[in-house]
């Protein structure tokens, strides 16, 4: 009863205004730096533009342009497909290897810190530097990668990695994974550390060992971390800019083989001679944002349902 009274008294002494005061700083920052820009970019996409001078309201015309007119009708699906490929590639290689490393490091214990630091080191380098570094390493002229391949008799694999459309996008998948591998590894490592020993011991007593234990005990308990990593990977892949830019330039060379949505936006906003580029680039930015936001929310919803089913 006293507790109840105390609870009521607390809610009385904590009026809405106080709550607002506490939330206000974050809310203002969010509104000024995130919400306002988002809404402004959205509004810009509904107008015609002459340089920085806003013209008349044209409804969805900019959206029609980016879906039907050259170069967007070809560049947009091409770039979008590459973003999806970057996501798939990161899920298959970066995150699975990251999980494997996390499990191995979780077991070895002693040198865990050393290896964790080593694997997360590239994470600290600017992606532009990483991209440039790898474009030097993979250079057909003086890149050590091809030189080594030739030395050890694998001459047929000494390809122009970044110049051939079939290998260039995979090179970007690899370079991205090389830089970010430490990220899933750390998150999975933390989640593994959070699995109570009692659970694993109980599973072992029940006869679950090795792969079986991993599949039936560890993996389901890692589901929240898997979800977080997947969503962040999705956002990262859809927004990829720095590494593709450093490797293939703003055109996504060769012949658009490394083009991604952010590069298309960059070209449209800054490199086209089109005086209406603010409108079309705002439309592109809006479409990209809505897609990322929609999918991220949907994924989060699906994961929440999965977790609920698992944990009750």
């Amino acid at each position: 009863m006293r507790v109840k009274t105390a609870g009521r008294a607390l809610s009385v002494r904590m009026p809405i205004l106080t709550g607002v005061v506490f939330v206000a700083p974050a809310l203002i920052l969010f509104a000024v730096f995130i919400l306002y820009p988002l809404i402004t970019a959205l509004s810009y996409s509904f107008f015609s533009w002459k340089g920085t001078l806003r013209g008349e309201f044209i409804g969805l015309e900019n959206y029609v342009t980016i879906f039907t007119k050259k170069p967007f009708d070809e560049d947009l699906p091409n770039a979008f497909a590459h973003n999806l490929l970057l996501f798939a590639g990161a899920m298959v290689f970066q995150n699975s290897i990251g999980l494997m490393l996390a499990v191995v490091l979780h077991k070895i214990g002693k040198l865990k810190r050393l290896f964790q630091t080593m694997f997360t080191m590239p994470y600290l380098i600017s992606p532009l530097v990483v991209g440039y570094l790898w474009s030097l390493l993979l250079s057909p002229l003086f890149g050590p990668v091809n030189a080594i391949l030739k030395q050890i008799g694998l001459e047929e694999f000494a390809l122009p990695w970044l110049g051939d459309p079939t290998t260039a996008i995979w090179a970007i998948v690899f370079i991205t994974a090389w830089q970010w591998i430490g990220f899933p590894m750390l998150l999975y490592g933390a989640a593994l550390g959070g699995i109570p020993d009692e659970v694993t011991e109980a599973a072992e007593i029940d006869g679950a060992w090795g792969i079986k234990k991993f599949r039936t005990i560890t993996l389901p308990l890692l589901l929240p971390a898997l979800g977080t990593v997947s969503i962040l990977t999705f956002i990262g892949a859809m927004e990829a800019f720095a590494i593709p830019y450093a490797v293939g330039g703003s055109d996504g060379t060769p012949a658009g083989a490394t083009d991604v949505m952010a590069l298309l936006f960059y070209r449209t906003a800054f490199e086209s001679g089109d005086v209406g580029s603010i409108g079309t680039s705002s439309a592109l930015a809006t479409v990209l944002f809505l897609f990322i936001f929609g999918v991220a929310v949907a994924l989060r919803f699906l994961l929440a349902r999965g977790e609920k089913r698992l944990y009750g």
Binding site: A41, L128, G143, P160
Partner: protein, 464 residues
Amino acid sequence: MKKLNKNMWAWLTHDEHQQPKAITKGDKLRKRLSALGAIGVAALVLTGCAPSSPEPAETSTQAQSSATADPVDPVTLTIWSWRTEDVEKYNTIFDVYEAANPGVTVEFEAFLNTEYNQILATGLEGSDGPDLAMVRAYGGVQALIEAGQLLPVDGLVDTSAVEQSLLAAATGKADGKLYGVPFATQVLQVFYNKGIFDELGLTEPTTWDEFVAVNDALNASDYTPMALGAKDAWMLPIFHEIVGAARFGGPEFRAELLAGTKDFTDADYVASIGLVNDMTKYMVDDVIGIDYASSQVQFISGTAAQFPGGSFELGNFQTQAPDMDLGVYLVPPPPGAVSSKPLAAGWADGSFAINSQSENQEAALNLLNWLASPEFGQLFVNEIKQFSAIKGMDYSDPVMKEIGELFAAGPSQYINLVDMRYGTPTGSTLIGEGIQSMFLGEKSAADVAQYLQEGVSEWFTPGS
């Protein structure tokens, strides 16, 4: 595959200063490093500043009588620029103007090249913009013109000393008015290493047969005949102009293209793209994997004998390889060429223009007139060491002098930059991507031409 210098990797990493530093638009490396900054600015531009309709000041009447009048009251003129590396040199140049025009102070402010467009667009919108500004050329200046942010200067500035073909760089596409005075030009040609030519007993080719013979001889030697960064698409239309301008006819073709009597699918233009493909046998294998910076290293390190490129390479080559004896020539007309003489494609690199909201337009117009004069042109050549847009300048550097003479003897225009950057997709992007596809065996020369024509047709209407 040409023999490669085994020490090249070591050489490249030995001294970071040896890494090719590009100079102007070709500055891919610096662009890459500044990309995040540009994206940040993108966010600001797209979001931060609500646009306001500028109200161009009534200028024509007040400025009409001012072109020759010296201002009596002290006035400070601000000029914005993207040439951060040239601030001191421009200050020296404007000291000369200040001495001759008492009461006028010129303040030259430079901003990071990659962020300049956004900074200038924002500055011109508000009241704290500059009086004059360096503006980009051709398609790059149209957004400012269309937004009414620049002052039309037809009849207010004497441009008789300026190379007339370059005035298009500062002309409004929609209204045909002049909005500035071009200050720098670039010219395309083949750079070659005279030391290698002498060693192999080769001379500058003057006919197509000699050109082929020189490249065959180089191919038979340990040297790579030509360095080309085919991985960077922007380099390929430059290469196409250098090799193909005489074949498709340069200025004559341009006139017909703009009039609508010919388009890019013209047989001569297709043949000129075909020449680009024929040249790949004079490059390293997998040239599609070589980036621009690596191609510069090939030439500077002496493994490649020739570098087809723009005059903006000159300073870099002379700094990186001070001992190299550098020569330049134009590719001679091939069989079937429309032009009987070799052509040097050129373009203006930027212009000086006046802010339509400047409160000192009278003084600004006086200064702009001076910027269109031979006196400024020569100071520009001497201090900045680039090609001036003013005619008849005296170049002390022998290579610059020769490039100037080549351009004067066979002037042409880099069509895909000069005329095909007024909309999306730009001509240079299309032909760059197209040639890459051709190198990869996915497109023929005719396909590339068709791709270019279809792309620019989205916004380009001949005769307009």
